[in-house]
Amino acid sequence: MAGPRHISVSEASRPVLPRHAKLKYDETRKVWVILAPERVLAPDEIAVEVLQLCNGERSVGDVSDQLAAKYAAPREAILTDVIAMLQDLADKGFLTEAREKTS
């Protein structure tokens, strides 16, 4: 069965898009889109960048580190924004978390 429904995004989360939410560049309209059941979302540029980094292995903290370095911006503010964006996506049902690895 699928994982737990209510995902609470934190700095330690390692989120990834589930199979039913697909990030894709729409060549016709020249925009990035997230394809989801009966919906097409238009993520802004930064949301796209965050989602491209979310591969189920990087933590939200790692993602924020990378963006803070790239844009020379305060990490705390970025972390807050990244969590808010991902939580919004999770609340819409379009985010999942990588399961803990049991080696």
């Binding site: 069965m1 699928a2 309209r29 097409v40 979302l41 238009a42 802004d44 540029e45 930064i46 844009y71």
Partner: protein, 399 residues
């Protein structure tokens, strides 16, 4: 997010980093290619629901597009900018090549949704569909109790099978939408349908009140809810939406007979939607063939799908506002609802260019509303079942 990171371009709606694309594009004047297209790949269906949205004149299997023709259509749709396709019918799983079509759609980059009655599926076939790249499954339900649900569908054992397929869907980690078609004879089950959706681990529920065209119009007296029933239905949906936020999202469609303003049918004729019929006709709405006197182009013609969308007479006939007569023509809402539904205007007034009688400004609104109200209070509960023979009346003892 753009405030912190100084994003060079402002997103379409700066307040929402995940805006819904359709909402922003819905006001576009360009009639750009729709984001999603409905593919009715067959009219064959083992169920006989009396409110079926297919036309009364069904396409027989001999007229259906071949596998190669559908694959060509899918490639063309992806090429012109369609992002999602809904495989529907009839019953899409009645086509033996469905897995192949889903695979092809995935290969050309389309997001695929299956709209199914589920009764023909095996676990193995569903698993093959998932492997072929299917993204989402939508299963129709006729109710929550076996006997009455099977009676509506005219198919014994259907309800039990649907529950089983819904369970397999989630086991295969496919997202599930429960599609509940509501009418006078099952509206009292709504709270249980909401609970059933939760129990089946669905993420979405469509509470779709019957829309009265085609088969449903023939069955209106047996299906039309009362105003009181509908008010109760709305109250239940609103309460459930609040209670289940983040767990189950509920889409809600009311029958427009009891509204004062007509619905913006299809988002306006030829503005954001088209579907393709089993025989390959490109249609502005799945009921459009009920309007006589319109000639619909086929994917089998020499024209491209994009050309048909932009230039064909049928799409341009009721596009925008230029075709309107009074009271639509000078109405302040003409760009908001585009005069309602053309198919309903045709079915109830004989002229698709008339104002949809669902609108309070239509001279026929009062008459039709009163008639519907009488029917809703009436005793007619027998169905005319949908089939290729033009319909079969339910027997007196309900079988």
């Amino acid at each position: 997010m753009s405030d912190v990171l100084g994003s060079p371009t402002v997103p379409p709606d700066a307040s929402d980093s995940l805006a819904v694309l359709e909402k922003q594009r819905s006001t576009a004047e360009t009639f750009g290619i729709p984001l999603a297209v409905l593919l009715e790949i067959t009219h064959r269906c083992p169920l006989q629901c009396p409110y079926c949205s297919n036309p009364v004149e069904l396409d027989r299997s001999g007229k259906e597009l071949t596998t190669e023709e559908w694959k060509k259509v899918l490639s063309e749709l992806a090429e012109i900018g369609v992002l999602q396709v809904h495989f529907s019918g009839g019953e899409p799983t009645a086509r033996k090549d469905l897995v192949e079509l889903v695979k092809h759609a995935s290969d050309v980059g389309l997001y695929t949704n299956l709209i199914t009655s589920a009764v023909l599926l095996t676990r193995e076939r569903l698993s093959e569909l998932a492997d072929a790249g299917l993204c989402h499954v939508q299963i129709s339900f006729q109710g929550v109790e076996e006997a009455p649900a099977d009676r509506v569908a005219g198919y014994r054992g259907g309800h039990r099978k649907k529950l089983e397929v819904a369970k397999w869907t989630r086991e295969l980690d496919l997202p599930l939408t429960v599609n509940a078609v509501m009418h006078r004879q099952n509206l009292h089950q709504l709270p249980d349908i909401i609970q059933m959706s939760i129990d089946l681990d669905a993420d979405r529920l469509e509470v779709a009140n019957v829309q009265y065209y085609g088969w449903a119009l023939k069955n209106r007296a047996a299906l039309m809810p009362t105003v009181a029933q509908l008010d109760e239905c709305t109250r239940i949906v609103e309460e459930a939406r609040e209670r289940l936020k983040g767990r189950l999202s509920i889409d809600y469609v009311v029958p427009d007979y009891y509204a004062l303003r007509p619905k913006k049918c299809m988002g306006g004729w030829g503005r954001q939607f088209f579907n393709i019929s089993p025989a390959g006709k490109v249609l502005p709405c799945h009921a459009a063939e009920s309007i006589t006197g319109l000639d619909f182009e086929s994917v089998r013609s020499n024209h491209s799908i994009a050309w048909i969308w932009q230039n064909s007479d049928a799409f341009n006939r009721y596009r925008g506002t230029g075709w309107m007569k009074e009271p639509c023509k000078s109405c302040e809402f003409r760009e908001i609802d585009f005069g309602g539904c053309r198919c309903q205007a045709f079915a109830l007034t004989g002229d698709a260019a008339n104002t949809d009688p669902a609108c309070a400004l239509s001279p026929l609104h009062e008459t039709i509303f009163k008639q519907a109200e009488r029917e809703a209070e009436g005793e007619t509960n027998r169905f005319l079942y949908r089939n290729f023979a033009g319909g079969t009346l339910e027997s007196e003892n309900g079988a």
